[in-house]
Symmetry: C2
Subunit: 471 residues, 2 copies
C-alpha cells in the first residue's frame, strides 16, 4: 500500500471543505501558525499543506495577507449537479452524434476541444523516436516476430514497478498487454459478460464505453455520479442485485473528472466483492493528477481478487501507439485466451519501445511536465470560461485528467451549439454523447489537452459567445 | 478481372490429371511438338505450359528425354483422404492441446514445425527497419497521434493497387485496416454473427478460427475438404439452409494447403449469395503461390457484394507487426464502428511503414524470393518425408502457403508423437487441433517456413523415426 502522509490527510480534509462550499471562494484561511496549533503539526508540515492546496488550485496566496480560497471557485462557476439518471438498465444504441464528432479526429483545420488526448507538443516525441530506433535494433529479427502472448516482458515489469505508486504491488506475471485501453476493456467485458447482462457505469460515461457495452449485447445501468467524488454508493447498493458487472473510471474519469476518495473506493470494492460482481477498473487518467500525490486505485483495496485493473499510455505518452494492459487477477487464463483468439499478439516494436521508455525513469520526468501543463491549462480554461461564458454556467473541478464538464442552463442545447461551433472550426463533445438516456442536453465536454495560446483563448471566447447567443 | 491465359488453362488441366493420378508418377509426358498439335498452340505456349508445371513441382525434365511426371508424386506418398467430418454444427470447446502447442511460440531451443509463419531470415528485415525509421521521421507528431479510423491511407491505397493481381479492383475507400488477420476475422464474425449462429468452415480448419468462433458463441460446421480443391461443394449445398455464415481460406489454407479452382470459387460465391449467407474470405496465403500466377479470390467473383475479403502481412512480411485489413463491402459502416469501439485505431507507425514498403515495389521483389524459398523448402520436405517417414504416410501437395498436412496410418496417434518429439526439442501441430470433432488423430501439420538446413533435415528424420517407433 502507498503511504498516506499526514500533510496529505489534512490537506484533503480542507480541500473537501472548499469543494463542498463549507469554505467559500475568497474566504481567508487560518495562518500557518494557527494550522500548526490546530492539528498539532510542525511548521514545515503546515507549509506543505498550503503548498499542496495551492498546487490543486484550491487556494491562492496574497503577499503579506496569507492564503485565501481561490477565486476560481467563485459563485459564478458553481459545480455541475450530481447526475440523476434513471436506474433502469438500457440497451439503446448510443447517440449517433458520437460518430459525427469522432469523424473530425485528426482534422488540422479544427480546434478539437472534442478529442480527449494530450496534444503532440506535450509529448516527448524525440525521446520516443529514439526508443523506436532502439527497439528495431535490439529486438530479435527486428521485431517482425510474434511477441510472447502475455506481452513484452520489459513493459510488463515496468508497469508492475510503477504500480507501487498507487499501492498495486503487482508483478510482471500479473499483467497482460493489449492494443490500447479500449482493447483492454473490450477483452474484460467479453471475458466476464454475456449478452443480456447488465454493466453499471458512471453517468455521464465515456461514449466509447457505452458503445462497447452495447455492441457486446450488454445492458448499461448509469449510476448517479458526483462531480468531485464519483458514483453515489447508495445508488450502487440499491441496484446491486440487478447488475452483473461494474465498469468504473475512479480517477479523473472523462467527462466529469471526478476522483473517488479512498474510503469510497474501499467501500465499493468490498460491496462488489460481497455480491460477486466483478469490477473492471479503467485507470487511464490516474497518472494525470494535479496535486502532489497519485490517487490510489480500487485495485489497491482488492483483497478478494475481484478487480480487473486496466490502463494504457494513450493519455500520457502516445495515443497512436496503441499500448494498454490489464491486471486480470484470477481471470488471467481467460483473458490470455481472448487476446490470442482475437489478435494473436501485440505489435512487438511499439511495446518494446514503451517498455524501455518507462524503464529509464524519463517517464516520471515527462509526467511531471505533462501534469504541470495540464494543470496550468485547467486554470486558464476556468478563468476564460468564468470571463466569457454565460453567468450561470457550471463547470467541473477535476483534480486531474484531460476533461472539463460544462453544464449550461437548461435553455442551451449543446447539439445546437455543436452545429454552430463547427461552422467556426471549433469541435466540442455534446453531453448527449455520454449517456443512453435523455439527459445532459445542456452539457458538453471540453478537452484540456490542447496547448494554451491566445488563439485557443479566442476559440473558447467564441464558444462562450455562441452559447450566450442561443441561451 | 485478372485475365486467364491459354497456357495457364491447359497447364491447369494437365496439373489436375497429375494430382488425381490419371497421369502417374514417373510417366512420360507428350513432347512439346505433340502438345502444340494436340491443343493447337504455338511452340512458345507449349514450352510455357511445361515451365509452369515444372514450377509447380508436378513434372521434371530429363536431359535428352523430355518431361516426366515428378517422382515427388510417387505412390509411396499418396494424398491424404478427403476429410469426412460429421455435418452437425458443433459448439464444443476446442482441444486444449492448442494452448499447449502455442505456449512454445518464440522458444529458441525448439525446432518449431508447429508455428505457421515464415522464419525471420526469409524476411526483408533491413528494409523494414528503414521503413520504420522513415515513418517516425515523416509522420505528424512522430506517429504518436491516433490514425484516421479507417487506417493509413497509403497502406490502403497499396492494398487496393495490389488487388488487381487477383481481379479485386478495390480502391482505398473499400478497405479498413486491422491489427493483423485474426483481428480482421474477429471483427467480421462479430459484425455478422450472433451467439447461436452457425459458421461453416473447411475441415481441417486453422485452430485459431475454431477458437474464435466458439469464443463468440457461434457453432461451427466443418465441411468435407479435398486436399487439392478445397471444400466439397455438394456438402455445402446440403447444409446451406443450416448455416448463417461461411468462413473459408480458399487459397493455400492451413493446414491442408488446398486451393479452390476458379470455377469452384465462382460456384460457391453464387451459391452463398443466392442463400443470403455472407462469405468471410481469409486470403492471408494468396500471395504465397509456388506456380507462376497468383490465384484469384472468391471476392473476384463477388457480383452480389456478399464477400468480405480479409488479409494481412503476417504470413508474407512481418508476423509481429500486426497489420491486416478487410474489404467489407456493404458492411463497411458496421465494421468501422466495431474497429472504433474495440480498438479506437491501429498503431500509426507500423501501418505507415508497411504502406511505404508496399509502395516501393520492393514487396513484389521480396515475395518473389520468399515464394522461391518456400517452394524449395516444400520440395525438400517432401523428399525427406518420402525417405524417412513410414511408407504408408500420406502428404498434402499444396501449391502455395506455409503448411504441409501429414496423414499417418490409423495406428499413429500424433498427440503421442507430439509428446515424444517435444522431448527431442521438436514441436509439431497434432491433427486434433484443427477440428472440434473426433478426427485427424493420426494427422499433423508441419510448417515449411523454416530455413532449410542439414539440421532441419535431421529433425525431420528424427520425427519420421519417432513415427515409425509408435506405429
Amino acid at each position: 500500500m502507498a503511504k498516506v502522509y499526514l500533510y496529505s490527510e489534512i490537506a484533503n480534509g480542507i480541500a473537501f471543505q472548499i469543494r463542498n462550499g463549507v469554505l467559500k471562494a475568497g474566504e481567508k484561511l487560518p495562518s500557518v501558525r494557527m494550522l500548526c496549533r490546530e492539528h498539532g503539526v510542525s511548521m514545515n508540515t503546515a507549509k506543505r499543506i498550503f503548498l499542496e492546496l495551492e498546487a490543486q488550485s484550491l487556494i491562492e496566496s496574497k503577499p503579506q495577507s496569507g492564503y485565501f480560497v481561490s477565486k476560481l471557485l467563485q459563485q459564478k462557476l458553481s459545480l455541475p449537479d450530481i447526475s440523476r439518471p434513471s436506474l433502469i438498465a438500457n440497451d439503446k444504441e448510443p447517440n449517433e452524434l458520437i460518430t459525427k464528432v469522432y469523424a473530425k479526429m485528426g482534422r488540422d483545420d479544427l480546434t478539437l476541444f472534442s478529442i480527449g488526448v494530450p496534444s503532440g507538443n506535450l509529448l516527448p516525441l524525440a525521446k520516443l523516436k529514439k526508443e523506436i530506433l532502439h527497439a528495431i535494433r535490439e529486438l530479435k529479427e527486428g521485431g517482425t516476430e510474434y511477441e510472447p502472448l502475455q506481452g513484452n516482458v520489459k513493459l510488463r515489469r515496468m508497469i508492475a514497478v510503477r504500480s507501487l505508486t498507487w499501492g498495486g504491488n503487482l508483478n510482471e506475471n500479473d499483467l497482460i498487454t493489449t492494443s490500447g485501453g479500449m482493447n483492454a476493456l473490450s477483452f474484460c467485458l467479453m471475458a466476464l459478460g454475456k449478452p443480456g447482462d447488465t454493466v453499471a457505469v458512471e453517468s455521464p460515461c465515456y461514449s466509447g464505453i457505452l458503445q462497447l457495452a452495447i455492441s457486446l449485447g450488454l445492458k448499461v445501468l448509469e449510476l448517479p455520479t458526483h462531480p468531485i467524488t464519483g458514483i453515489e454508493i447508495d445508488a450502487l447498493k440499491k441496484v446491486i442485485p440487478k447488475i452483473n458487472l461494474c465498469l468504473l473510471v475512479p480517477n479523473f474519469n472523462t467527462p466529469l473528472g471526478s476522483c473517488m476518495p479512498d474510503e469510497h473506493k474501499k467501500e465499493v470494492v468490498e460491496l462488489l466483492a460481497k455480491h460477486g460482481v466483478p469490477l473492471i477498473e479503467d485507470d487511464i487518467y490516474g497518472d494525470l493528477y494535479f496535486g502532489s500525490q497519485r490517487p490510489k486505485c480500487c485495485k489497491s483495496f482488492d483483497k478478494e481478487d475481484n478487480v480487473l485493473w486496466c490502463s494504457s499510455v494513450s493519455k500520457t505518452l502516445a495515443p497512436g501507439y496503441r499500448v494498454g494492459w490489464i491486471a486480470p487477477g484470477k481471470h488471467k487464463e481467460k483473458l490470455l485466451k481472448l487476446k490470442f483468439v482475437h489478435s494473436i499478439s501485440s505489435a512487438s516494436i511499439i511495446q518494446e519501445a514503451v517498455g524501455n521508455f518507462l524503464k529509464t525513469g524519463r517517464y516520471e520526468n515527462h509526467l511531471h511536465h505533462l501534469r504541470s501543463a495540464l494543470k496550468s491549462n485547467y486554470q486558464n480554461y476556468i478563468h476564460t470560461i468564468a470571463e466569457y461564458f454565460p453567468v450561470d454556467t457550471k463547470v467541473s473541478r477535476p483534480q486531474g485528467g484531460l476533461a472539463l464538464w460544462v453544464e449550461f442552463n437548461k435553455d442551451i442545447d449543446t447539439i445546437k451549439l455543436y452545429d454552430l461551433a463547427i461552422k467556426k472550426n471549433i469541435s466540442i463533445s455534446p453531453g448527449r454523447m455520454f449517456t443512453l438516456q435523455n439527459q445532459f442536453e445542456n452539457c458538453m465536454r471540453l478537452c484540456i489537452g490542447l496547448p494554451w495560446s491566445d488563439d485557443l483563448k479566442f476559440k473558447l471566447k467564441q464558444l462562450g459567445n455562441l452559447a450566450k447567443m442561443i441561451s
